[in-house]
Structure formats: C-alpha cells, structure tokens
C-alpha cells in the first residue's frame, strides 16, 4: 500500500475516534510529536517534585507533612506511567532522561520558579495543578491510546491534589494576619506563571494546528487558558483573596473573564533557561542521576550474577 493510503487510513481512524495503538502505523511526525509531548510531560512530573519536595522537611504539621510526601510521591508515579507510555513509541527512558539533562528536552517552565513559603504548597496545588488538570482532562481523550489511558489515572490523583492545595490556602486565609499575608503573597507570585503554563497565544504557537488535526490536542492554548481564568476567578472569592490583575473583569457579552496582558518576555526568558531556578532544577536532576550511577551498576551486576547462578544450578 502506498504511504498516502496509510496516512489516509490513519486520519480516518482519528476522525472516527479510534485510538492509535503502539503497533499501528503512524506518520513519523505523529510519533515524534507524541514522544516530545509525553516525555516533556514525564519530565515535568519529575522536575515538579523539586519545588514541593523542598518543603517536606519543613511542613508545619505532621498531617501536612504526610499529605505533602504522598503528593510528591504521586508525581513520581505519574512520571513513571508517562515514561512507560512514551517508551511504547520506541524511545527508552534512559534516552529521554539524557535529553532532559542535556537541555534538549523541555519540562514545564512553571517549575523554574522558587517555592519560598509554606503557602506556596497551597498555591502550587491550587493554581499549578489546577492549570495542569485542564490540560490533562483534555488529554484523557487524546488520540494516542497509552497516553490517554495514563492520563485517566493521573487526572484522578491530580484533582485530589488541587483540592488539597485549595484547602491548604483556605486554612491560611482564615488564619492569623501573617498567614493571610503569606497566602496572598503566594497567589501573587504563582498567578502569572500559571497562566503561562498553557503556552504561547494560539497565533504564536507552532505546534497547534497539526496537533488539533491529529487530536493530540483538542482545545487550543487560549481556550484552555480562558477556562482556567474563569474557574479561578470564581474560586478566589471563597478564599477572600485577590488575583494580581487589575484588568480582570467579568465580560457579560463574552460570558468570560477579561484579563490583562501576560508578560511574554518573561515567558520566553524562562523557556530559554533564564528563570530563577532553571539551573538549580537541572543540576539537581543531573546530580541525582550521577550519584545513582554506581547504584544502578551494582543492581545490574547483582542481577547478572544471580542469573548465571540460576543457570549453573
């Protein structure tokens, strides 16, 4: 069959909402886009452990410590499913990790911001996981089967994290003056970076059109961002806090909130590696990998010894 027909069949499957599975024929660009996106997503989970892991030792109560440890551990689990999903497309976890460490592969820029106070644990859960969920709910219906199935499981845990984050902030918002100030400060710092998580405006986004056609994505960056703003602008009222955007205002005609201009200059700077923690995050990942080299070698050597003993017996 000529390639043309394969492509037509492939597109027909997509149009008919039939999932693409690992052994199915797929265009090279579809494979590459999925590898890029899924591995980037996996890396984001792993790097995302760092800003929150940072607060485990200082969590203000034993209950909060337990919740935080469980949450960060969930993220490691998400990273694991996602690496496995990406491996079905023919790239090994080692290769993906090398690409992360060399800077070839990206991860979500949000994790290049520092987590400075306990309230950041709430703000990250509420805003960062909240933004991630909108994207992930959409991805539960993405066209590549293993990715869609991984997302279903991940979404359940993420929505739990978001509620925990909100609840953390709720307690602070009803606490002492210092706690209220801490809460507002964290929201101020995480708000704009959270909006940037949806990526560039549709008019600037290079990957969007083809990804929509292949149903890798089903909503555009701007649509998702608007959904997020509409959701958070309502939830913030419960906290009695404010969002740091004077232009934020309900637009009766559009039935959406209007909002101010995102600082795209900052966005691109962080993407290019100039965020406050880009260097620290990658260094931490590289160090963990390098320090673990001897451990992985020992485990391998031991497994081989065991195997040859079993054979000999």
């Amino acid at each position: 069959m000529p390639v043309q027909n394969f492509e037509e069949l492939f597109q027909q499957k997509i149009d008919n909402e039939i999932k693409i599975e690992p052994k199915d024929w797929m265009p090279d660009a579809y494979r590459k886009t999925n590898i890029r996106q899924i591995s980037q997503h996996a890396h984001s989970e792993i790097v995302g452990m760092l800003p929150e892991g940072n607060w485990i030792s200082r969590a203000p109560s034993l209950k909060r410590k337990a919740i935080l440890i469980a949450k960060v551990q969930d993220e490691a689990g998400h990273g694991l499913y996602l690496y496995s999903a990406a491996e079905t497309l023919g790239m090994s976890r080692d290769e993906m990790i090398n690409d992360l460490h060399s800077g070839k592969a990206k991860y979500s820029s949000i994790f290049n911001y520092p987590s400075l106070t306990w309230a950041d644990m709430g703000a990250i859960g509420w805003l960062v996981d909240g933004a991630a969920i909108l994207n992930q709910v959409m991805l539960c219906r993405t066209s590549y089967g293993p990715y869609a199935r991984a997302m279903v499981r991940i979404c359940k845990e993420e929505s739990f994290h978001q509620r925990q984050g909100f609840e953390t902030l709720l307690v602070l918002s009803r606490g002492t003056e210092e706690q209220k100030a801490m809460c507002q400060d964290a929201i101020n710092r995480w708000w704009w970076p959270s909006l940037m998580m949806f990526g560039p405006r549709d008019s600037e986004s290079t990957n969007s059109d083809q990804s929509m056609k292949w149903k890798i994505k089903r909503k555009t960056n701007d649509e998702l961002r608007q959904n997020f703003i509409d959701m958070i602008a309502e939830q913030i009222k419960v906290l009695g806090m404010t969002l740091p955007d004077p232009a934020l205002k309900w637009n009766e005609e559009r039935k959406h909130y209007d909002f101010g201009e995102i600082d795209w200059n900052e966005f691109w700077n962080v993407v290019k590696g100039n965020g406050p923690c880009n260097k620290q995050r990658i260094n931490a990942r590289r160090k963990a990998h390098e320090d673990g080299q001897w451990v992985r070698e020992a485990a391998m050597a031991y497994a081989e010894k065991k195997q040859s003993k079993t054979k000999a017996a």
């Binding site: 203000p60 307690v171 070698e297 020992a298 031991y302």
Partner: protein, 243 residues
C-alpha cells in the same frame, strides 16, 4: 509508671519521625525513579507510625498536648530517638544500611510489642509490623545487591558499616522507661539475622566495636539539633497558628 509509658511511647514516636525525616530527604533525588518512590513510601509509613505513637502519647500526657506539640515543640534534649536514625543519609548504601539495621530491629521489637499488656501500643505495633516487614524485605534485598554487586558498591557498603555499626548497640540497651519489653533479649536473634543477610551480601559482621549510646536519654549526636531546626521552623516562627 505512667511517666515511663509516656517516655517510652515518645521514644518510639521520635525514632519513627526522625528516620522518616531523613528518608524523605531522598524524595526527588533517588538513584532510580522506582527506588525514589520506594524510599519515599517508607518515609510515609514511618511518619504514619510516628503519628500513631505521638497521638497516644498526647492522650496519656493530657492537657493541651497534641501530636504536633510533641513533635514540634520539644527540644533536642527531650527527643528520645535512637542515634542510628538521626545519622546522615550519606550515599544510597549508607541510607540502605541504616534502614536495614533499624528495620531488622523494629520487626523483632514489634513482634514483642504486639503482645504487650498495653492495648494501644500492641495495636499500633500489630498494624505497623506489616509495613516493617516490607521495609525489611526491601532493605535486605538492597544490602545484598550492593554488598555483592560491584567492587565499588561493596567498598561503599564497608564504609557504611564502619559509619553505622557503632550506633546499633543502643537498640538493645534498656532505658529506665523501657519496661514494657526487654530489648536486650532481642539482641541474639537480631545478630543472627543480620549475620545471615551480611553473609549473603558477602559483607563482614564487625566485632568488638565500641558502641555509642545516649539517644534514648536525650543525649544526641550534633546532627539532631539541625534536623529539629528545620523540622520545627514554621511552628516555632508562628506560635499558636493552625495549619
């Protein structure tokens, strides 16, 4: 009598909390993603055990004591954890060995504790021993893997033994408040089991090592103060706040 029971319960709680705190330092920094999850899981189990013991100690103490006041507002001289568990993570080998030496002890101790006359402690022990059985299996497998892995891993394990063995004697020395079970009676069994695992791991069991003690009485290594500083920082900075 009651003060002995409170002190003993706090000793159990502090030991679990401090080891949990140490293990959680690995979260996000483990050598392999699966093992990052495993060590974090152990940290979470130990934290759960610590909370059960602190909650019981708070009930016994009465007044305004809570699990958090006991964990966050006591000083390094009041903490009664074993010296072994406050030792630094070092490399993965040292962390593994610390976990193994402790889990092997904790398992035998919980076996006894679940039969003790104090119902609450017995209940916590019988719930916790299932977790400890897993910690023990996981850490002993890793001791073997590293001891009998490569030349480098073997040498690192020898260093870890040199670093940690001297803190194992304290586990079997009864503190004045430690009247519920006789820890000295666990020593022989512990030694036999450790010797079997070390032999499988091609590691030597040290002999005639001078043992450091004091943790149970609140005389710690210099490391504990730094750990508590970090652990207690938010509670102490904002006294009386709810989190």
């Amino acid at each position: 009598m009651k003060s002995n029971l409170i002190d003993y319960t706090l000793h159990l709680a502090d030991t679990a909390l401090i080891l949990s705190q140490r293990n959680s330092e690995w979260c996000g920094h483990g050598p392999i993603l699966e093992q990052d999850i495993a060590i974090t899981n152990i940290s979470l189990d130990l934290l759960g055990q610590a909370r059960n013991f602190y909650q019981y100690a708070a009930t016994l103490t009465g007044g305004e004591a809570t699990e958090d006041s006991l964990a966050y507002l006591r000083t390094e001289r009041e903490f009664k954890n074993l010296l072994l568990v406050e030792q630094e993570n070092g490399d993965w080998g040292q962390t593994i060995l610390r976990q193994y030496l402790f889990s092997q002890f904790q398992y035998l101790m919980f076996e006894k504790l679940q039969q003790c006359s104090d119902e609450q402690l017995a209940a916590i022990a019988s719930k916790s021993i299932k977790e400890t059985a897993y910690h023990l299996r996981w850490s002993s497998e890793w001791v073997c893997r590293l001891g009998d892995g490569t030349k480098e891993s073997h040498e690192r394990m020898l260093l870890a033994i040199e670093e940690l063995w001297r803190y194992t004697g304290e586990m079997f020395e009864s503190a004045v408040y430690e009247t519920i079970i006789n820890v000295a009676s666990l020593k022989e069994d512990w030694m036999q089991r450790v010797s079997a695992v070390f032999s499988e791991a091609t590691l030597p069991v040290p002999e005639n090592v001078f043992m450091q003690t004091g943790g149970k009485k609140g005389i710690h290594t210099e490391l504990l103060g730094f750990m508590l500083t970090e652990l207690q920082y938010v509670q102490r900075t904002y006294p009386g706040a709810e989190w």
